[in-house]
Amino acid sequence: MRYEGETYFPMLRDYPETVFGGDFDTATDYLDPFIQERLSTNGNWALYTLNTYGPKTVNYFAKSPNPAGPTAENWLGTDAQGRDLLAQLLYGFRVSVLFALALTAVGTLIGVLTGAIQGYFGGKLDLAFQRFIEIWGSMPELYLLIIFAAIFSPSLPLLLVLLSLFGWMGLSDYVRAEFLRNRQLDYVRAARALGLSSGQIIWRHVLPNSLTPVVTFLPFRMSGAILALTSLDFLGLGVPPGTPSLGELLSQGKNNIDAWWISLFTFLVLVTTLLLLTFMGDALRDALDPRKADQ
């Protein structure tokens, strides 16, 4: 941005309002009509992002009471606190996807690892692990979440740890079954006869051939993770207040039924995300299959 012959980068640091001719020594609100006027006269200019609002920015200068419907200023309207819906959705989507990626990665890693150990070595180890999974799996996940939300202040890393602790079991069963099937195939026997160690056999031979269910389930795990976060947020057990989140928007939509734009646009974002994830998963599976790759 250019003001009175000087260049500023408000993206990188905050400037007090006094710099631009304001009265207060506080961080500038660039949406203030006074500031905007100062910035657009005398050859001053400012380069705005397409959507000029951040997820926490409250539009104090809205013309109608909040929540306000879609206008030229707030393209998708504002929520109950007067924050721009589009910005909220964008940032909420980012949080959801990053969270889902992390949760899926951790869950898949643990699931594949435990499934591989059980399936490859089998016998007593497998038996013991299966019983452990049964006990672990019968713990009431939601209660634990509520209890932990009461003890600790809710935060994304805590959610990630808690959901990961319970998210790996489904996958581990599939990987175990694949390993049980693959480890007795002839190419594994041939590898053992060649003198490869267990680790090498698992890594080079059994694992690549056992990943089909993992890849198939990846997109579903992603969408599952997004939905889990959304529903926890919806219940108020998820991310700390103030974090942009799709679940929180949904609950706002529920509380303001007449503000149709909140529910509708959040819903559309969710549906599109989940649908695209499924398509990506299909494409990923085809791309990783050496038989399909060259057709």
Partner: protein, 548 residues
């Protein structure tokens, strides 16, 4: 029936197929074949896998998924290919019945065989439930199943392989078909059972006066069973005629090659040096698997199933020991034990070193290099997600880790050339990056041999090395193995159920039955004068079908 349709009805022709084409996704696999079957005639359709023989037969009844079929096929004057789906359903199982190769998968595991046969009777003959169950017992009795009334209530898994195939035949006969399609009816069965099932089919064919279209790759079956033979190669019928005339004077080059593909004996026959260290030596080798005991005893104690009980074997340098036996006789277990992959009792030495000792002292790696393996099914013995270079070069990463990738590649190319896989010199790099599914069965088996040979073993365990291959390919692989033995002085432990392969390859033979060695001796002597009744059965089953 319209006048035009009756016009196609020829005297004495049950099924008349003209210019049959079958294609998948615009790509033809059957290129216009003509054949006909007279009522009560036995026609054999012969060819290697992929020649289109099964597809041709099944597409007559529109049982091939996603296939584009054209041409005509008149059954009793009705064009099967022009029929509506509904009319065709009347033909299937009524005029034409099918016996599939693998009865275990062709029978529904959730219903008793009696129910499944009774279903046909109720559907096609409109019998009531009671009449049907009487008919079922009668049908089962006619196929020679002992205690047919009890077997009717049995589920497929409770029957033996031979009994299952008999039940399949009973099911096919239930509707008194005019034409029976038998798709490799004996391939999944043990050698000694094959003859019995074939005799049964012949008997029933005579009794019912039905025509049989036998689809097979096995020329022995053809010579025993069929009246006429049609030879298929790559979707074309190359030769047709009476069995005797075709077999005695094959006109087409492909038929000649098929007939000449019986394995030939070409091995070094010199006697073994006395006092040399044997390559593999076992004394009282015993392998057992734990099994659950029934009832409450099983909670505390495991029973033992003895897969191999006290085998004494010896293989000298550069010689082949053949192990023959039926499925379940313990011969594959013996192979795995020899590879040091199973716990065992008794003595098991590779070049004078005891396996157990080596494993206890952590020296098994050196021993693994001495003994390698080639498995039966080249489709499951190569990891589908590794490239050729990775598969063949893997042994080197373990046993010669000091080699650089370039040196390793050089060795891989060299060994591939030795087993007869020579890539185009310009595209070696590309070629080495291919995956196993891009190769044919015979090429894959060569890859498996290359993988075993690259670590320069002394002993090669061959577990049914050719039984998953077509006859002409089988012969090529066997002669490759004979050549490698000659050049490298390899010893083979050859495990097979095929007496022909033993006859071609082995110096010495042991015959196994139910985990016991019942007979052993020098190959040719033993096969010409078997003393144990079981060996006599085996040799007769193979010899009977021996032709040429």
């Amino acid at each position: 029936m319209t006048a035009e349709q009756t016009g196609h009805l020829r005297d004495g022709v049950l099924l008349d197929v003209k210019n049959l084409r079958v294609g998948f996704g615009g790509h033809d696999v059957v290129h216009g074949i003509d054949f006909h079957i007279a009522p009560g005639e036995k026609l054999a359709l012969v060819g290697e896998s992929g020649s289109g023989k099964t597809v041709s037969a099944l597409s007559l009844l529109r049982l091939v998924h996603n296939a584009q079929v054209s041409g005509t096929a008149h059954l009793n004057g009705r064009d099967l290919l022009g029929l509506s789906e509904q009319a065709l359903r009347g033909v299937r199982g009524d005029d034409v019945a099918i016996i599939f190769q693998e009865p275990m998968t062709a029978l529904n595991p959730l219903y008793s065989v009696g129910d499944q046969i009774g279903e046909v009777l109720q559907l096609k003959k409109g019998l009531s439930g009671k009449q049907a169950s009487a008919g079922v017992v009668e049908l089962l009795a006619s196929t020679g199943i002992p205690e047919p009334a009890r077997r009717a209530g049995a589920f497929p898994h409770q029957l033996s392989g031979g009994q299952r195939q008999r039940a399949m035949i009973a099911m096919a006969l239930a509707s008194a078909p005019k034409l029976l399609l038998a798709d490799e009816p004996t391939t999944a069965l043990d050698v000694s059972l094959r003859g019995q099932i074939l005799d049964l089919l012949s008997d029933l064919q005579r009794q019912h006066g039905m025509a049989v279209l036998l689809i097979t790759h096995d020329l022995n079956l053809v010579s025993r069973f069929a009246d006429r033979v049609a030879v298929m190669e790559q979707g074309r019928l190359v030769e047709q005629g009476g069995v005797r005339s075709v077999f005695e004077a094959p006109a087409h080059a492909y038929t000649q090659r098929l007939l000449a593909s019986r394995p030939l004996r070409d091995v070094v026959e010199e006697p073994v040096e006395q006092g040399a260290l044997p390559c593999l030596r076992t004394r009282g080798l015993r392998v057992s698997y734990p099994v659950r005991l029934p009832g409450i005893r099983g909670w505390f104690k495991k029973g033992a199933f003895v897969a191999v009980g006290g085998a004494n074997l010896q293989i000298a340098q550069g010689r082949t020991l053949g192990v023959v036996g039926e499925s379940g006789s313990g011969k594959s277990t013996l192979a795995l034990a020899a590879l040091g992959l199973l716990p065992y009792d008794g003595e098991l030495q590779v070049e004078g070193t005891d396996w157990r000792q080596a494993q206890e002292q952590g020296e098994s790696k050196a021993l693994r290099r001495r003994i390698q393996v080639v498995f039966q099914d080249p489709f499951s013995s190569l990891s589908p997600r590794l490239t050729v270079e990775q598969i063949v070069g893997e042994g080197l990463t373990v046993h010669a880790p000091e080699l650089s990738p370039a040196e390793r590649r050089e060795k891989v190319v060299k060994i591939l050339a030795e087993v007869g896989l020579v890539p185009d010199p310009k595209q070696v790099g590309d070629w080495l990056q291919r995956y196993p599914h891009e190769f044919s069965g015979g090429q894959r088996q060569r890859l498996a041999i290359a993988r075993a040979l690259i670590v320069e073993p002394q002993l090669l365990v061959l577990d049914e090395p050719t039984s998953a291959l077509d006859v002409t390919v089988q012969q090529q692989v066997l002669s490759l193995l004979q050549r490698l033995q000659c050049e490298r002085g390899l010893s083979y432990l050859l495990i097979t159920h095929d007496v022909d392969v033993i006859r071609a390859m082995a110096h010495d033979v042991v015959v196994m039955k139910d985990g016991e060695v019942v007979e052993s001796g020098a190959c040719l002597a033993l096969l010409s004068q078997p003393s144990h009744p079981y060996t006599r059965d085996l040799v007769r089953a193979a010899g009977q079908s021996g032709l040429v």
